[in-house]
């Protein structure tokens, strides 16, 4: 008896009804990702990468096809259960960081914990620990606009992993960063992948960034046209 991979999609399609014209963002995606993999998704813009990632992260629903996460058919889950998955099992990192602008770094990291029903010192301690992990605990009371892009993205990563997710989903996490910070962010993600076996899925345009990932998917027109494991292990 075979167990399902952590992520298992069959025939995923996504159609956006865009003012009369239907946009086929995904046209039949089959994808299996095992626990602990680190995967890069590449492809031209508009090829459906973000759409796929949103579905994988339970942020959106496919039009057709099935998506099993950790053995559960996500199509059977209600809005509340999906919110629970996003809160506990997934961590999102965005190109534009998406921090709450008026809140401190610490508070931004605390929010997912609040939504888990935690409160009090436990929240603060865990958020501080997450910041410390990425060497930015001294910036805890800074607001996003007092932080550099690299620092903001590290706060965002701290927020993504503060609840110890199974999967980190990063949509062009280095898209707005310079090379130094980009490499820094990638090293952080790689470290989590190696040390904690967190499954990491990264959308990127840059081959150098994709080079951190042992597995590369290439998408075009809503389909996966290439799925390769690198011969040489790039773990450094």
């Amino acid at each position: 008896m075979s167990t399902l991979p952590l992520i298992s999609c069959r025939g995923l399609t996504k159609i956006y009804p865009l003012s009369g014209v239907e946009v086929h963002a995904l046209r039949g995606v089959d994808l299996d990702i095992e626990r602990g993999e680190m995967v890069a998704i590449m492809g031209p813009s508009g090829s459906g990468k973000s759409t796929l990632m949103n579905i994988l992260g339970c942020m959106d629903m496919q039009t057709e096809g099935s998506y099993y996460f950790d053995g559960v058919d996500t199509g059977d889950l209600d809005a509340r259960e999906l919110a629970g998955l996003r809160n506990k099992k997934f961590g999102f990192v965005f190109q534009r960081y998406n921090l709450l602008p008026r809140a401190s770094a610490l508070y931004n990291v605390e929010i997912p914990l609040f939504y888990s029903g935690m409160y009090g010192d436990e929240v603060k301690n865990r958020a501080l620990a997450a910041l410390k992990r990425f060497g930015i605990d001294d910036l805890a009371d800074h607001r996003p606009n007092q932080l550099s892009g690299g620092q903001q993205q590290r706060v965002a990563i701290a927020r993504a992993v503060v609840n110890n997710p199974l999967v980190v989903l990063a949509d062009e996490p280095t898209g707005a960063l310079d090379t130094t910070n980009s490499l820094e962010v990638m090293k952080i993600l790689q470290k989590m992948h190696i040390e904690q076996s967190v499954t990491v899925i990264i959308i990127t345009h840059e081959p150098e960034i994709a080079g951190f990932c042992p597995r590369k998917l290439i998408m075009r027109d809503g389909k996966i046209i290439s799925d390769q494991f690198s011969a040489s292990d790039v773990r450094r």
């Binding site: 509340r80 919110a83 629970g84």
Partner: protein, 406 residues
């Protein structure tokens, strides 16, 4: 798994603080609404209390007999069915303590070079008991003055102030009322502040006979009203019935004929006054409620704008685990917080406004706990009602779409 209340409140307070101007403008509607409800109701209830306390001060063992059929407020002189003789007959009934017939009119009073238009009350000495009149100087006229048709007058404080120099002793001086000379024999104490109605200090009391014959030229002895003080308050309805049958007999009314007089006791007048002022209060409160509803629409408007403006934030919150309920709660909580804070300031301004109003308008106001509770509850209902729709809309957003919202 749900966000704790205190966390929720910190989310909401942060959001409201982040946009202070907008929060304030939203609250303004509620502030004005609540303040208006409290102010209006305090004015209405102040009026009610004042009218009732004035009526109560008349004494509850009083019956007032007026000419004309019941149901019509008759004050004109063209209903002449009640006479001085009727009053004298009533006085002889058992259970009646005393009777004061009154004719009313107004006259131009002259004293030296001063003139003053005032009201004339032609009555008997019993009025001092019935209306609780007290003498400050001199004396009230007596039964013999009434029988003798004496040209004597007892003046109220307002009349004194307008006809005499302050400090001057009015007793013994002569005044002219519509050309007839009267001797002032007494000055009344101030009866009290008046509200809205006629100034009872602005009256000259003269014997009823003198008023009828010398001043008003009434030939048929008719009076405007007869006030009857009953000995025992428990007997008041018995006495009322006796007066009615006496008058019917005296007026030779057939069995089928309607009464040509009407008798009111104080409770009747109280009820009427209470109804009228109650309606006034309700009307004022209704007007104020409308402004509260408008304030509620303001909340909805701002909440809708806020939801749209914060769509990305909502998307982000959902991406990191907020349930629909969490989002709904947050926005509802914001709406409730806005309306409660607004209510608080509304109460402050409403109470202050009511005090200021009563100070400048010389109209006592009464702030009731009902008005405060009513307006706060109403503001809260409005906050929840108008906050719910935008909140629900926010909570129904798809996280991916909300997050990519531009």
């Amino acid at each position: 798994m749900s966000v704790r209340f205190q966390v929720l409140s910190s989310f909401s307070i942060d959001a409201l603080k982040a946009n202070k101007m907008r929060s304030f403008l939203t609250m303004l509607g509620i502030i004005i609404g609540v303040a208006a409800v409290i102010l209006m109701m305090s004015i209405g209830q102040g009026a009610q209390q004042q009218v009732l306390s004035r009526i109560n001060s008349l004494g509850s063992n009083l019956l007032t007999v007026m000419p004309g059929a019941a149901g019509q407020f008759v004050r004109s002189g063209n209903v002449n069915t009640l006479t001085l003789k009727d009053a004298q007959a009533i006085a002889k009934l058992t259970g009646v303590a005393c009777v004061a017939p009154t004719v009313r009119g107004s006259a131009l009073a002259t004293c030296g070079n001063k003139t003053w238009t005032t009201s004339i009350s032609g009555t008997t000495q019993e009025i001092t008991d019935i209306s609780s009149l007290e003498i400050e100087q001199g004396r009230f006229f007596s039964e013999s003055d009434v029988n003798g048709i004496s040209a004597v007058a007892v003046i109220g404080q307002t009349v004194y102030e307008n006809l005499f120099d302050s400090g001057a002793d009015p007793v013994g001086s002569e005044i002219r009322l519509s050309g007839v000379t009267f001797k002032v024999i007494g000055l009344l104490k101030t009866i009290g502040a008046s509200s809205g109605g006629d100034d009872r200090d602005d009256t000259i009391y003269i014997p009823v006979t003198t008023a009828q014959i010398r001043l008003l030229g009434t030939t048929n002895q008719s009076v405007n009203q007869v006030q009857v003080q009953v000995q025992d308050i428990n007997q008041i309805s018995t006495v009322q019935d006796e007066i009615a049958s006496l008058l019917r007999k005296r007026h030779r009314l057939s069995d089928q004929a309607d009464d040509d007089f009407n008798i009111r006791d104080i409770t009747q007048i109280q009820n009427t006054a209470q109804n009228v002022t109650g309606i006034l209060t309700l009307f004022l409160a209704g007007v104020a409620m409308i402004s509260l509803i408008v304030g509620g629409i303001g909340i909805m408007n701002i909440m809708l704008v806020s939801v749209t403006e914060r769509t990305r934030e909502i998307g982000l919150r959902m991406a990191i685990g907020a349930t629909r309920q969490d989002i709904l709660n947050q926005f509802l909580y914001e709406a409730i917080l806005l309306s409660l804070t607004g209510s608080f300031f509304g109460i402050v301004f409403g109470v202050a406004g009511s005090k200021i109003f009563s100070y400048f308008a010389k109209w006592s106001t009464a702030i009731s706990i009902q008005a405060v509770v009513l307006s706060v509850v109403f503001a809260l209902i409005i906050g929840v009602f108008f906050g719910y729709y935008p909140a629900r809309r926010a909570s129904r957003l798809n996280p991916a779409e909300a997050l990519s919202f531009e």
